[in-house]
Every structure is written in C-alpha cells, then in structure tokens.
Symmetry: C2
Subunit: 260 residues, 2 copies
C-alpha cells in the first residue's frame, strides 16, 4: 500500500475499518490535524482558549454539537476516522479506543486543530531535514513554564514541539514556517531549552526523544497538544483527543494554509 | 476639548459621565471597536460565527460572563464607557441607552470586534481621502446578498462598508488595508454594487450616504456590523451592541494590528 499517495478519504476509510497506526508520511500534501472533543457545556471555554492562544491552538474547523462530519472530512465520520483516540474523564486518561462508539454523545463538539506536520514538508522541500522523520520517531513535545492565556475553566501550559535545525538553516526554518500562521507559524523559541523550563530534551512529555547532533540548534514551535494539556488540567467531565501521532487526515491541502 | 488627542481612558471617562456623541476622530492612533454582548447561552454560537467569518467579525477581545473590564479598557467599565448602546430583545431594537445599568446581567459575555476606522488613518496617511470623514458623515454600510457561514443559531448576511476611492488609488487602498487583517483587511469587492445585491448606494442600511464623485470607484470592505445583523436575524432573547458610530475606544493602538 502506498500510504504517501492515498487520497485522504481512502486513508480515513482504512482507519474506519480498524487500522491504528501513526499517520506520519500519509497522504502527502494533505493537512493532518489534532482533535479535541468536549461537551457543549465546555465548548465556549475551549473556543475562547483557542482564540486567545492562536499560535498553539489554530482552529481549522469545528463540528457543532452532535455533528460527525464536515467539509474537512467529506463523507467521513469523526467517530471512526482517526486511528486511535484518547478519552479523558475529569482530566484522567481512561480509554484509548480505535473508535468512539462507546463514548459518543449528541452534545459533543469537535475542534479540528492545526498541526506542525503541515509545514514539515515545506522545510524538507527547502533541504532542511526533519530529525524525527529521519529517525523514524514521533516529534518530541514538552510542557513549558509559559502559561497560556486562560479562558473560563481552561488553563494550562504552552506545549511545544522541538526540531533540531542546523545553525546555518535556523533563519530559513523561521522564515518558512512563519508563512504558515494557521498551523503554528514561526518558532516561539530558539536555543536554550532551560529558558522554557525544559530540563532534559531526552525526556519529552509527549512523543519520542530525538538526537540533537553537533552544530544543530533546538528550535521550538507552539504545539497543538496544548489544548489537550489544558483539558487535562481543567478536568472537564469528558474530553476526547487523538492519540499522539494518530492525526485526522483532512481534505485540506497544506498549501491552503500558506500565506503569500 | 481636543478630542483627537484624548487618551482612551479620558475619552471613556467622558462617555461614562453621560456624553453620547459619535467617536469618529477621537483619540487618534487608538483602536475603536464594535461591541456585541449576549448571554452565555448564545456565546459559543457568536464566537463560532466569528471564527468562521473572520473578515467581518475579527475578535479583538472577549470579556467572560459577568466581566465588565479587561486589558482593552484598563480601568474602564463596558456597561458605561460607550456613548450609546443598542438593546435587542428577540431581534427587535427595544432601547438605545447611554449606559447598561438597566440591562446588565452576570451571564452576559462581551465581544469586542475590530472596526475599519483602524485602517482609515493609514489610508489618509497615504494621501487617500476618506469621503465620509470629509463630508462629516458616518460611513455608509449595506447588507449584501452574500451569506455568512452560519454557526448554530447565528446566521445572516455579510454587511459591508463602502468608501469611494479614486480609480488610480484603488490598488493602493487594497494593498494598505490588506496589511490590517485583524480589522477587516483587504476589500471584499471593488466596483459594481449590484454584484453584492446593493440596489442604491444612496440608501445605506446603516450609517449615512456619501457622494461618489466622477472618477471614483466604490470599494467595499467587510464590516463589523455583520454580527449585529446576524443577531437581529437569529433573535436571541437579549443582545446588546453599540449604536452606529458610537464605538468603544480601546487602549490598543492601530499599529498593533498592522502586519509587517
């Protein structure tokens, strides 16, 4: 199976049928996204949190209460079309199902949140290698000592992803990713991890560690796991996300989010 | 009184004390904003409507349920600091008070929405005259035949403001305003009003008509009255706005919304 060239609808159909693998490298050129699903009662706080923290929480689309499909997943079903989900009750992970049939309720609102996978292809296209892809791992992600702007019940730390970039390409990486403001945009920090309260790059809070080679600088981008971290901290009765690396493959193209 | 050079807090204090005049020309360099205030029950729909229609509904700030002040009006009070308000019950205008003491409830959420006044100074600075300012009138605004993306109970037409621009400066006007994406950005339409379903420029739906001189082209921008039009159409039990031309004068600077 040539996963790189699968149409998004074909990829979603495979996950709907029970496949549960990470989506890195799938459906090249199409936008992958984070999920956060909460009851209507919490939906205003989540959307306001995203509005106040647009770098980590860029909203690409919203399915209103009970809606299971929309223009980002034409013909799809949000309850089944992601490989693996995470289910939190009162902020505690209680299930990692491959579909949401046991959890779905008609008051659930789905937020589809941008993901830095979108700009990785542009970095690679400019000859900037992506360490975690080359090393066959998930991108390393870290909670930081920076607080997001809170919104109602939603409060939490900024979560960042890290990519080691060769010192002479850091400026290019900043310039290229700045052209994708809807999917985290330019880095939030370049260099010393301790400035962000990160003690050990080898111990990410989410994802896998990657090696930072000599002559490479750690570069940090705002990460779409941030709203999941806020949900964990604010402990709503129910919240659902995607499992790390198991993204929603949407019908949007990465180029849709490139600004001139 | 030199209203042009009043600090925003000084201007707000005058309105708080009962003054009720339009704010065009006040507190030069500081951002003026539209208001839309609804009960928490409707707040998610309003915020989602804004998220789906960012050109007409750019959110500059949100005061959560019951909050009466915030960083855009430091030391101010949203219930008193606008010269005149509009109050709608079930979509019908029922009051135009100079303060909200008779209407305030602790479940009200305030949305502070960008206004094209912000880019008018930049147009004038580039030598592009603004007809309604020169003619001493409020900007003319029109309902169009374009529908906004709906969100829950919120649905309505795109409302536009119109400024006649000399034919050889239209490109400049488009370029300059495009640099203010958070306050409506580039024009949505240039030229024939009938393409937008506008039959007679001399009969605006809001504001005052202005003369379009020979050699000038009508240029249309998305307008922050759009959410008020949607509120009127969706008829929530209670909604509050600012009276046309009586804007909130915020502590933000117009330059804060200029992108490089």
């Amino acid at each position: 199976m040539d996963r790189t060239n699968l149409a998004p609808a074909q990829a979603r159909a495979l996950f709907r049928d029970g496949l549960a693998t990470p989506t890195a490298g799938w459906s090249s050129g199409f936008t992958q996204a984070n999920l956060i699903i909460v009851p209507k009662e919490q939906a205003f706080d989540v959307l306001l949190f995203a509005n106040r923290n647009p770098k980590p929480c860029p909203i690409l689309g919203v399915l209103e209460a009970g809606q299971t499909t929309g223009p980002l997943l034409v013909g799809g079903d949000i309850r089944t079309d992601v490989g693996r989900y995470t289910v939190y009750e009162n902020g505690v992970l209680v299930d990692e199902p491959t579909d949401l049939s046991a959890w779905w309720r008609d008051d659930l609102v789905t937020f589809i949140v941008g993901c830095s996978f979108t700009f990785e292809a542009a970095l690679q296209g400019a000859g900037i290698p992506i360490a975690h892809i080359e090393q066959g791992r998930n991108v390393p992600m870290y909670r930081t000592n920076r607080r997001c702007a809170s919104a109602g019940s939603m409060a939490g730390p900024l979560v960042v992803s890290m990519r080691p970039i060769a010192a002479d390409r850091v400026a290019d990486a900043a310039r290229i990713t700045a052209r994708y403001p809807a999917v985290h945009g330019a880095p939030v920090h370049i260099g010393d991890p301790s400035d962000l309260g990160i003690r050990d790059l080898a111990k990410p809070d989410f994802g896998d560690p990657v090696t930072v080679a000599d002559g490479f600088v750690p570069v940090f981008w705002a990460c779409g796991v941030t709203p999941q971290a806020a949900v964990m901290e604010s402990r709503p009765p129910l919240a659902i996300g995607h499992a790390p690396g198991h993204m929603l493959i949407t019908d949007a193209r990465d180029s849709d989010y490139l600004v001139p």
